[in-house]
Symmetry: C2
Subunit: 262 residues, 2 copies
């Protein structure tokens, strides 16, 4: 189960932190490390700080973009300080662990950590379904990244050790199938094409509409079946407005003619 949980680090600056994180993960039974475009890596400093967890570094997956790190995940959780202008559903590390454990029985889960100094960008948070923060002193709340990973991993270990709750939750979870990130991306592309097709947005000037819709759907987290229905709706809209998925970039589409007639 813990092997379905991956830690994703974006643009780490200090390789020593990557080593410390590998050790922190292995201490808590996590093995699956993704590095998105790390700075100064591989490095002796990382290897030294990893101590007995060098195997995690050797097996780490290095990718150029966040998308590639999470495309097969059905739950993506971004770490950040408590307050964001735009808020996804937000949990502390303990609540996060309790929600992740039953989920990870059947699905890949990613927990994404941002840069040492600046954290996650808004467009990266927008790719997440949930946000997690670490309870801390309001006067000095920013933890070193390796310490933040340690606490999140520790809470996961604790939740996994003392899981009386998954017995309750797992039947629920079993019946829920969540789409992979890449399926959500296909849905968003379909949505964009459709919105463009019905002149709801102007391509290349989509404004904030698409962002807001994406955030909405990420937050609401459709199940696989629900996503199928949503895509069916989009396909139906396209069909009814004279568009097809293969023909969804017309310069001037027939403006939802039949729909309006009904």
């Amino acid at each position: 189960m813990l092997s379905n949980i991956r830690i994703v680090l974006i643009n780490t600056f200090h390789p020593g932190n990557v080593g410390a994180i590998a050790r922190a993960m292995k201490n808590m039974g996590l093995t699956n490390l993704y590095l998105v475009d790390p700075n100064d890596y591989p490095s002796d400093e990382a290897t030294s700080r990893a101590a007995g967890a060098v195997d995690l570094l050797e097996n780490a997956t290095i990718v150029p973009t966040l998308e590639e790190a999470i495309s097969d995940c059905s739950l993506v959780i971004g770490t950040s300080a408590r307050h964001r202008t735009f808020q996804l559903p937000i949990m502390n590390a303990r609540e996060c662990a309790e929600s992740v454990i039953p989920e990870a029985v059947h699905h890949n889960v990613a927990i994404v950590f941002g840069r040492e100094t600046t954290g996650l960008l808004n467009e990266e948070i927008a790719q997440c379904h949930r946000q997690v923060y670490i309870d801390a002193n309001d006067e000095y709340p920013v933890l070193n990244i390796s310490q933040a990973v340690q606490i999140v991993a520790y809470e996961i270990w604790m939740a996994n050790q003392h899981k009386d709750f998954p017995a309750k939750n797992s039947s629920q979870q079993d019946s829920l199938e969540y789409p992979h990130k890449k399926d959500m991306d296909l849905f968003y592309r379909h949505l964009e094409d459709t919105l463009y097709g019905i002149n709801f947005i102007v391509r290349n000037h989509p404004g904030k509409v698409l962002d807001k819709l994406q955030r909405f759907f990420n937050r609401s987290r459709p199940e696989k079946q629900e996503l199928g229905i949503l895509r069916g709706v989009l396909a139906a809209v396209q069909r009814e407005t004279g568009l097809t998925e293969a023909n969804n970039h017309p310069e001037k589409p027939d403006k939802h003619s039949e729909k309006q007639d009904n």
Copy 2:
């Protein structure tokens, strides 16, 4: 309340760890750092890793021995891996935090961390009332010391934030007054003198007896009043066997003559 909780580090080897620990503590609202005979300290590496917690380094108390770091504490908790040949009452970090918070309302509490490579020596553990361990992967359970402090401090922060339990416990705790470590030391000296006086032990060859007694009393943690009673008993033994506290190093004491006659 959190200011009554101190973190004690014994013989840290890497000054970077001290800096990381200062940051980890401040993140969780702890301010009180004691360094017992640290290696290579002060150091730029410590200052750099402390980031916004340099004030904790500046205010740290540096002492040559563990005794001096804990003499005014009424609860001393040693960190170590789960299994020890000799076991004090043992708690995980969460249980530790829940027991420390109500206690720290009125008393000084020390949490003691050993060396990076070898941890606490047995004679150091013997000065503790309780042991704390961190739940971790059995196959790779040893955390970096700064990560261990982070988790212990985090659990203390969490317990302090979500303390519905102290309401229950604090009235209990209020009525219990525990002696300071230095009072316990006086008791142990009194005990040793008395045991010597009654020829229960041979001075300079005390064997394991004193160690075992000390462990027993540390584990059972007498209250202040109870310690007073115990010392009264020792004084009475000395008086009855012809010893006084001022005259307790005789070369050949009268061997508990009156006691045996009774």
